[in-house]
């Protein structure tokens, strides 16, 4: 099984530690992991901004980078959802389809494909979980509170395998944090207000750490937390699952 690591552009540039943790975690599970250097961005910033028609060359580059791997795994629900929903290339649609079918968010890859039953990680802290909306509702990483369906959560399933972790119940378990791509600057006031409500939920429940499936949501919340010097640490779920490895 050849696994390609898809590290979203802003994670690559600003949160290399998340890429390193993801790689470490997958290698620790005995997987053959590669990072195709050709990769750049999935094209989501343009597409969500209404410019999907400008993503053709991004799509072609993405296919070139990831063609031929058995699985494409990424520590981002949002970028994976974009690829799954919108990656097309009229010149090589069969390859595009293959990429769409083979791309997985890290947690779902671990629970559904690798089917991990245990992890070596140890993380003795009070942890709040922000399951990014695109991962949760889009990729169905967890049942959403709006629906009347059996409760499940792939990220929580994994976090519960971590030794010493104490998971915090939030008042609003799946409220959006307000990042939303370009929304975070075009609707700055609403975006920040949403993020601050989210952060207030963590501090109210005395979480020491907030973790999540998307660095974008976390980057936005970390920005708010740091500005206010709040005692909450922000970490991607890969960093928690790889803690102590």
């Amino acid at each position: 099984m050849r696994v390609a690591l898809f590290i979203p552009c802003y994670v690559d540039q600003f949160y290399p530690q998340v890429g390193i943790a993801t790689l470490k975690l997958l290698q620790h599970l005995g997987l053959d992991v590669h990072f195709p250097m050709q990769q750049t961005c999935c094209g989501q910033p343009m597409a969500n901004g209404g410019f999907e028609h400008l993503t053709h060359s991004c799509n072609a580059n993405f296919i070139k980078a990831f063609d031929g791997y058995d699985y494409i795994v990424s520590p981002s629900g949002s970028c994976v959802l974009h690829v799954k929903d919108h990656l097309h290339d009229p010149k090589q649609e069969d390859k595009a389809t293959q990429v769409r079918q083979r791309v997985f968010e890290l947690c779902e890859f671990l629970t559904d494909i690798v089917q991990v039953q245990s992890l070596q990680a140890r993380f003795p802290k009070r942890v709040a979980v922000h399951q990014g909306c695109h991962g949760q509702r889009g990729l169905q990483l967890a049942a959403s509170t709006e629906t009347v369906t059996p409760r499940f959560s792939k990220p929580l399933q994994l976090l519960k395998m971590v030794e010493g972790i104490e998971l915090v119940n939030l008042d609003r378990p799946d409220e959006c944090c307000g990042f939303g791509g370009t929304f975070c600057v075009t609707e700055e006031a609403v975006s920040a207000a949403m993020g601050l409500s989210r952060v207030a939920d963590y501090t109210k429940h005395e979480a020491q750490v907030v973790t999540g499936t998307d660095v974008s949501c976390l980057m936005h919340q970390e920005g708010l937390i740091k500005r206010r010097k709040l005692p909450v640490q922000v970490m991607h779920i890969a960093e928690v699952l790889a803690a102590g490895l």
Binding site: M46, V148, C176, T186
Partner: protein, 460 residues
Amino acid sequence: METKTIPHAEAATKFLANPARVQWHDETLWFVRYKRDKIVNEIPEWEQLRNLASQIKEHTLSQLDQYLEQFEAAAQANGVIVHWAADAADHNRIVHSILQQHNARKIVKSKSMLTEECHLNPYLEAQGIEVVDTDLGERIVQLNKEMPSHIVLPAIHIKKEEVGEIFHQHLGTEKGASDPLYLALAAREHLRQKFLAADIAITGVNFAVAETGAIVVCTNEGNADLGAHLAKVHIACMGIEKLIPRTEHLSVFLRMLARNATGQNITAYSSHFRKPAPGQEMHIVIVDNGRTTQLGREAFRNSLKCIRCGACLNTCPVYRRSGGHSYHNATAGPIGAILAPNLDMRKNADLPFASTLCGSCTDVCPVKIDIHNQLYQWRQVLTQEGYVPAAKTASMKAMASVLSSPARYSFAGKWARKFLRWFPSLALNKRLNPWAKQRDLPTPPKESFREWYQKNGGNQ
């Protein structure tokens, strides 16, 4: 009440200038969502009901022409006078002509988002006719010279103390009174006089049954019934999408509507009107106003399934913090944002962007409209049709160019990180960078992941 359109982001910023009020607005609506969750979870087959409701509506839309004709014939056989309005202006003219025939000057009107959409009130008022909205919330916003800010909770943005002030000014209640019971009784007394004096009653329509020609109107206050029963003439205004094929289908929709809207088992009054009472006259005005255009847009067609429960507003984290008026459209919130561009792309081009695409609206929708996906699709359409700023197009083109080339991408990334390390104060300039107004920037690392990977070869 037609005012200059303030873009959503700007109106939202104004609304957010009062954080305490926003928190109250958010928590009030979240409580409605909480009540809704509680009550729908008492129905194990909720998701089946959603599927069924969606299928009934999709089927109806697929044969809408036939069902409309069937409905018209059945209603006429019941003695109802049926009118067809192509657009809002047509609708307003038709209603006015009925009023003229009866020389009516005083009208009571129960809740109807359609008449809001058509701006019926200002139209009739300009003709010297008194229109009184009889739904309590609607009466409050009407007295306050505002539009409803929510589909089912039209005055949700107004606090009880403010209602006390509005009633003091208009109804003569005691100054400073804010007891809801006292205020509700004052409104009841005030509205009773209006009901008794009304020449004609206008109502909306929640469901129109094709096989019987009957209409169903749902209210919690019984105001539609009181109006329609007391007045000599009842005019019911409906969009073409209100149809359902058979009476039995109400057993699906009436189970869902109030539960999803307000967390009630059922609306207090679900009133069926089939034929005029002896000596009375009943009219139904069937309105298109852009709906057939929407029906023809494949990506947006199923927005016509909407039963106006308002749950997507309650759940929307943006709506809760920006307020209904920030959507500058009769129907606010996520559903408003996918309906409004169909009516006027230029005026409403900002609305599909007033969302994080979190998808909560889609998951809460009782008829399974893929609202967040349609927001995404509207963004594409609005961009293609040229309704986005030129500067955005230029920056998106530049971004696409950088992100489609590994070399340009690595170069740009490296220099962006250096820039942030060298000139943090410039990057944190609140005027130049909206991100930095309330947020810090991530600490730029010396090395990107790919640079680290190249050195370490991925060998741990």
